[in-house]
Point group: C2
Chain length 315, copies 2
């Protein structure tokens, strides 16, 4: 992306190494969940935390902050340019408050905790994972105190997923949704709907290779471009975008209830589609990854619940 | 690794982000050859070149160079500490001469050229790759002029693979080897040895999945620890070490002449073994990757030619 304003171009050029660190951090994250030999964990922790600290150094570099500050004062910015400055300014304002040792601690604990969680999940042994969860909550609480908040501590973290959304806002939404959903559920149960009964397909075992082929067939049907996209396997399904032309999803195969695997695949493919359809001119800018988690989730849920479930249930 | 000398510890701490950039660059390289969707090429080029330039910034940072300079003057260093300083000093001396735009150009051309090379190889179409090879040679020639050399231009590049080895040295070795090898070859041909005749196995096709299983069985037989190691598939086989506990090889399946695939696997596994057997105390230091290419190649060739071929031919 090239802008008319030279300050904007200086900002985008200076952002390239930060973008590249994010690219590498995304790839390391994807690899950690898919192919990394498990004993590489400690070294991956060093690499992940160090790259995050380097990113912070570049973002909070005086010259870069100065460029963003001067761009804020410019009156003739386009909407896209304003978006870039807003996103960078938010990131600077937040990162400047979080000390490096917390950035490092969070990165190391996420990696160590995740590795234990995988084994704990396999063994259905929550107590195995509990100390890691406790430690992560402690780290997050420290981060919250550094970032600051007005009413609820979680506001500081919620804002990272959905700009300016607060716990109060969410409570308003969920209080309406909860009571209405409960009414629908009661109606379904009372009417003896088949949706409320166990389906024998939920217990029947499947051949993992066959369901993997089926998932790939579904992606072909949905016209995913395998030159910009791929699917692998992980303990918990996720979408990770390295950039606008390399978006990856994972699915999981538990060996029973094939619908879960198909739903996961379509759900993650929905996330991926949102990334894949971003305007290519946003490539290597702070705006390339989609607007917010709620918009992201609306895309994944649309494909999973509206398109796929409607097809599965009514065809 | 912790040292008695505080300057050495400062150096090792400051080296951590450089090590982490190398880790990420290695992973991006491995991923580029194995799983990356091909249209992610341009963005991967940005990330690779930017991380290499960041690495150069950190290495040539005045404070870091100052630390290495003061360590050079210390009289009480252990052999390991001397090794760290020697390796870092060599890297600083070289990198300071290569301007950033050449570092960037080399990275971008390596990635673009490699992608074209894969297609050209598949089609046996050298002319398709020729312009990229020409461009890379031009870039390398510019780098050579910046690094400088005493007798032969290639000395500047050869030194990166094998410290202080020169073209003159190599000529001495190869002139003896060539004539002696020719004598052995002539003797074999004259004696009508079966080694000089085409073996029908070289043309027979194989089931890729079966040979992949065989390769994995061989790795099990050779007692590779799959928690620190893995094998994937690429156009040209290679070994890439992310760190001492995450070493990866690739092999290739061309669908005919299974011995080639097995040889590649064992050859690369030999390289990997050299990395996997490095002292763990060298982890996250500039010394962790093995001493030199010649030593590396002696390990891979030992397993490929001495152990495996001897077994295959005489058992």
């Amino acid at each position: 992306m090239r802008c008319e304003n030279p300050v904007m171009n200086q900002i985008l050029d200076a952002y390239k190494p930060m973008w590249s660190l994010n690219h590498a951090i995304s790839l390391m994250g994807w690899d950690f969940e898919t192919y990394m030999p498990r004993k590489g964990m400690e070294e991956r922790g060093v690499a992940d935390s160090q790259l995050r600290m380097l990113h912070k150094d570049l973002l909070l570099n005086k010259d870069f902050v100065g460029l963003v500050e001067s761009a804020k004062k410019l009156g003739n910015l386009s909407d896209l340019e304003k978006g870039i400055i807003r996103v960078l300014n938010r990131e600077i304002t937040k990162q400047i408050k979080i000390p490096k040792d917390l950035t490092e601690a969070e990165s190391l604990e996420r990696i160590r905790g995740n590795m234990v969680w995988r084994e704990a999940r396999e063994k259905s042994d929550f107590m195995m994972y509990a100390p890691h969860l406790k430690k992560m909550i402690e780290i997050k609480k420290q981060i919250v105190e550094k970032i600051g908040y007005e009413r609820h501590p979680y506001d500081a973290l919620l804002d990272q997923f959905e700009e300016e959304l607060t716990v109060d806002d969410l409570d308003k939404v969920f209080s309406v949704l909860t009571s209405r959903t409960q009414k629908i559920l009661k109606k379904l149960v009372d009417s003896g709907s088949p949706f409320c009964k166990e389906n024998k397909l939920e217990k029947s075992k499947y051949d993992i290779q066959k369901v993997d082929e089926l998932n790939h067939d579904i992606l072909t049907l949905l016209q995913y471009d395998m030159e910009r996209f791929r699917m692998d396997v992980s303990t918990h399904p996720f979408t990770e975008a390295m950039d606008l032309n390399d978006v990856r999803i994972t699915t999981r195969y538990e060996g029973a209830d094939f619908k879960k695997s198909i739903s996961s695949t379509i759900h993650e493919a929905g996330h991926a589609l949102y990334n894949l359809q971003c305007d290519q001119s946003l490539s290597v800018t702070p705006l390339e990854g989609g607007s917010s988690l709620a918009l992201h989730e609306s895309q994944s849920r649309f494909w999973e619940n509206i398109v796929a479930e409607a097809c599965l249930l009514f065809n």
